[in-house]
């Protein structure tokens, strides 16, 4: 009996999925869930298995073991066409027909996706990526950034419920990458579920509700903020005009104080359990000690810190 997807169902449910090519393991025992409307980042170094995951969930490759459902449909050969009707993939390389114009490329894919009114779908997709005025240019004459935009327009033609973006800003300059960020943010507001692979951490941090870090096995998963907090203790960074005579005496009075250290630039990093509660007390203690405070603020670890910490570690099981 055919499964009947409901809107409350997650967009993706991946359970112990493994893909091998002969003896080479692309990814191993990966499990996660992506909710509808979520922008989900899949991070990992080159060769981590990100593209293979996209290809597998996009029904181009068959998993070696494990199971998955895509928009409520089981990931198996019998549902390939149904899944591909409701999803779209933007591969890492745009893969455009360079001799054909932008519009001719989109016309082909509008028909392949069986769009109801191809002309309208094409015009809307071109407008979404701001390429209406280049519609009649051969794709071979476009810059790499514009080609990425055409590839994104192609992926938007069928108004997919789930969009896989494989390294969408790979090889783009910062301006072109920023344009792509804007487009992804626009898609998020339209309610599309986005599965985005990247090794650009600032991209994941900016765009994604949750990120998963993969290096053949899944290392961790969660919102970028939560990952930082989970992995690194919270600290308050203080810059003073002169070093403290007795830091232990000053910091020891602060509620939730754990330890202190100085960074390479001489600033104090005071580890506390709750920075919001500790900061006022810390300011008072510093003033009482006669210290001249130049700056005080929460020390933030970047997603890069999390990433670098995790990619060399062993697998984290059941990281849903």
């Amino acid at each position: 009996m055919e499964p009947t997807p409901t809107i409350a169902e997650p967009a993706l449910v991946v359970s112990h999925l493994t893909k091998r090519f002969g003896t080479r393991i692309a990814f191993d025992d990966v499990s996660f869930t992506v909710a509808r409307g979520e922008v989900f980042g899949f991070l990992g170094p080159n060769g981590a298995g990100k593209t293979t995951m996209v290809r597998t969930l996009g029904t181009l490759l068959a998993p070696t073991s494990g199971s998955a459902t895509v928009l409520g449909l089981p990931l198996d050969p019998g549902h390939g066409v149904q899944i591909r009707r409701r999803t779209a993939v933007m591969p890492e390389t745009p893969g455009l027909y360079v001799r054909l114009t932008v519009r001719e490329n989109l016309e082909c894919f509008a028909d392949l996706y069986e769009t109801d009114v191809p002309r309208i779908a094409i015009d809307e997709a071109l407008a979404a990526v701001d390429l209406t005025d280049r519609a009649d240019d051969p794709c071979g004459t476009l810059s790499k950034g514009l080609r990425q935009r055409v590839a994104l327009a192609r992926a938007l033609l069928s108004s997919p419920e789930l969009l896989f973006l494989d390294e969408p800003t790979s090889g783009l300059d910062p301006v072109a990458a920023r344009d792509v960020y804007g487009l992804v943010e626009g898609l998020r507001t339209r309610g599309a579920t986005i599965f985005l692979t990247t090794h650009r951490l600032e991209e994941a941090e900016r765009l994604c509700d949750r990120v998963a870090i993969l290096n053949t096995t899944l290392r961790t998963i969660g919102p970028p903020n939560e990952l930082r907090n989970r992995l690194f203790a919270t600290a308050i960074q203080i810059r003073l005009a002169a070093p403290l005579a007795d830091p232990d005496a000053v910091f020891g009075t602060v509620p939730g104080f754990t330890r202190w250290q100085r960074d390479d630039e001489g600033a104090y990093l005071v580890t506390v359990t709750d920075p919001a509660a500790a900061a006022p007390a810390l300011t008072r203690a510093l003033a009482a000690a006669g210290a001249d405070v130049l700056a005080i603020g929460e020390s933030r670890h970047s997603l890069e810190d999390v990433y670098l910490q995790l990619v060399d570690e062993g697998p984290v099981k059941d990281a849903r």
């Binding site: 009707r85 993939v89 390389t93 016309e107 392949l112």
Partner: protein, 241 residues
């Protein structure tokens, strides 16, 4: 299995547009038949008027059936391997298209220009012979059965050659390798055509019907076999589980 003609049409239209914009492909498609007709043309134009009587046992027109065998691999062999090399295959395979639809679209897009070229070359050959050969040569050379053979066998041979080319294209890692293998695989058919043209295998209506029936079976079977050879996973990842 549902079969969507709109997706087939999309592939045909895209392929024909690409062929139209691909000058090197057009040149290759044009040059190959020209090379193929030079020898018979020189031979026919060199005949004296007295030789007309001896032409009744020769089938120069059948020799031209080699053209629909040799032209299609130029297009068909690059159809899959070429797209794979250019990175355009993956986006197509992420759409709802089925492999049977993709291959039929590719085959029809190669078939239409191939048979058009074959018929145009046939017509050009006959026109040159009629205009420049010695009196009596053209009328002695052209007979109804050979013309009928052209009409029947050009599409059938082109289709067979296309399926061979597509089959090679789905398995070869490189478009040029696929082209060369396709041409190599076509040679036995060309040899057969030449032997019939030279009357080594005497042509007859019975032989014509049998060969046409065989080609119809091979053409339909070719679609099925090529579809089975088309392996998404190997084409995308370059390897298999």
């Amino acid at each position: 299995m549902s079969f969507d003609l709109r997706r087939v049409r999309a592939i045909i239209r895209k392929e024909l547009r690409e062929i139209q914009h691909n000058r090197s492909l057009l040149v290759a498609m044009a040059v190959l038949p020209l090379v193929f007709i030079i020898q018979p043309l020189v031979a026919v134009l060199g005949l004296s008027a007295k030789a007309a009587a001896g032409l009744s046992h020769e089938h120069v027109l059948l020799y031209l059936l080699g053209i629909p065998v040799l032209v299609p691999p130029v297009i068909a062999a690059t159809a899959i391997a070429g797209e794979r090399q250019q990175g355009t295959l993956e986006p197509v395979l992420t759409t709802p298209i089925r492999r049977e639809e993709l291959l039929l679209g590719k085959a029809l897009a190669a078939w239409v220009p191939s048979i058009a070229i074959a018929y145009v070359v046939d017509a050009a050959f006959l026109a040159v012979v009629a205009l420049f050969a010695q009196p009596g040569i053209a009328s002695a050379m052209v007979n109804r059965s050979d013309l009928a053979a052209q009409v029947v066998f050009v599409p059938l041979l082109a289709a067979w050659s296309i399926w061979v080319g597509l089959a090679m294209s789905t398995r070869a890692s490189d478009a040029r390798v696929a082209q060369q293998l396709s041409l190599l695989a076509s040679l036995p058919v060309v040899l057969c055509v030449v032997l019939i043209a030279l009357d080594v295998i005497p042509p007859s209506p019975e032989l014509g019907v049998a060969l046409a029936a065989l080609l119809v079976v091979l053409d339909v079977g070719g679609w099925w076999v090529t579809s089975r050879l088309f392996d998404r996973e190997r084409l995308i990842a370059g390897t298999r589980d």
